[in-house]
Amino acid sequence: MNETGERGGEAAETIVARHQGSHYAVLRHADRFYGVALDDLPFDPERIRTGSCRRSVHQAASRAEVEALIDADPWAWSTDPLPPVFHRGARPAAARGDGREPVVDLRGAVVSVPVRPAAETVKRRLIHGIRGEARRCVALLRQIDLAVRPGERVGIVGRNGSGKTTLLKAVAGIYPLAEGSRHVVGSIAPVIAQGIGFDHELSAATNIKLALAHMGRLEAWSPALQEAILDFAELGHRAHLPVQLLSSGQQARLAFAVTLFQTPDILILDEIFATGDEAFLRRATAAMTARIRTTPIVFLVSHNLAPIEALCTRCLMLAEGRIAADGPTADVLDLYRRTYRGAA
């Protein structure tokens, strides 16, 4: 890498400092200062305008301000220099044509799952059938009333088995309701698991299309989107390698990148945060933050309370399949911490 960032003889910028170890460089160009990931060197400020930088770029009037931005909590990053294809299809509700805002409305929702006995014999089944006995069911969600409007980012907290994922699946329409009603307006993207549909014997490029098909988003596939996903996952040079030959970290990057590049009205995230090396983590966090902030309605489940605290405008606390608390994020998280001190 050229330390001065020279590009074809043109002195595009001057490195004035390295920051955060060796991950970021602070550059000066035309009286502006930029914090740029080293992967993006040689740096061209035009790339900020066109959105083709590989990582978040911070810009400010002084070096100190840029350094402060880099040091700041990653959730607070404000720049969003992702490829333009990342934003394709993003549209405010008013621009959808029907003028309707996305809405999620659950009333008296109950989710009940039938229990299949481990050793169900033909005899037992016949006896149950003759007696007309219904199969035993377990209620996972009870009497959920939840109305969410555009602009609300709803964090969901609760201990294991409290019903967080079940609630997400009920909102998405994956789990039908046993009782109550569900009314949803808007396109939904449930990101309950990463890498669904991946076939490890096929190439990374094929797996992108395959994953999109499994997510019901095959129409969104294009060479540009595929390239953007590979570029984001830093796998452009390994696009044609079978996924099984990628490291587990690279596989996780690919899975994360596929889930990231979508622009629904309602985004449902279940513990979906990137894994990988520090540099990727930083960029992925920034990108997911940008996605969450530009989506009209977001549901976010996480055992890590930091993203909920930083991103959510509203929070639900679940216990035993019921909503135990619903309100401003700070209040609900405070209650959650007090209730489950030592367990959270």
Binding site: P176, E201, E219
Partner: protein, 266 residues
Amino acid sequence: MTDRTDPAAQGPASGLRHLARTALYLGWVRVQRRYVGSSLGALWSLANPIATTLILFLVFAHFMRVPIANYGLYLVAGIIPWTFLATTLNTVTQSLTSRRDVLQSSLVPPIVFVIADVAAELIMFALAYLALLLLAALVFGAPAAVACALPIVLAPLVVFTGAVAVAVAFLSVYFRDLPHLLQVFLAMMFWLVPVVYSVDMVPEPFRFIVNYNPFALMILPSILVVHGGILPSAKLFATSVGMAGLACLAAWWLHARLRRDLVYHL
């Protein structure tokens, strides 16, 4: 209870065309995936029907001296469609249960995965049928011109297989004995469909087994075209079309009844 996503604002999973495209793509990937790493690739798809045809030819033409002219062609005409039907039904018993994780995290309707598996088998069927017909043409002489009508003649078989496949796939989720039962049923049914003998050889008192057997009604038209060099009678073709239509109605009814709570039973 109501469960409603506003259809006007539904995501990309909506729309029949989109779902059909997704199913075909998944089917095509399945075909590509099937022979990844094998040296003979798609030629393996011919191995089973060729082996079955050869052994049946040896036993029935030479040992038992079945009085059917061009017996090899007769076998090819019946065995390949039968293999498509039986393989598809056996495959789809796992279409939904093997995709539990996907179905519990995605909004793609389960039927898409069943259609994808049927599409994969259909592609393999078309390739195998074409290859064996060319081979048969070299050995037994060119089939009659009416063979050009095969795509239309085979349409009821494809629709029937798809419809029964949907029913089998959904029922297999609720009744885990079904895949095992189906294997036994198909093994018996092979001998009740006239693919190794002709209808004329069946004694009159037992002929109803063939005449009222929906599986036989689906296979017979292709045997008539490829082996007999004649188009099926209007009555036979209409019956097979009607049977395929009935299968579609039954599959639609079952799908409507079973799809709602399917995710809980995976």
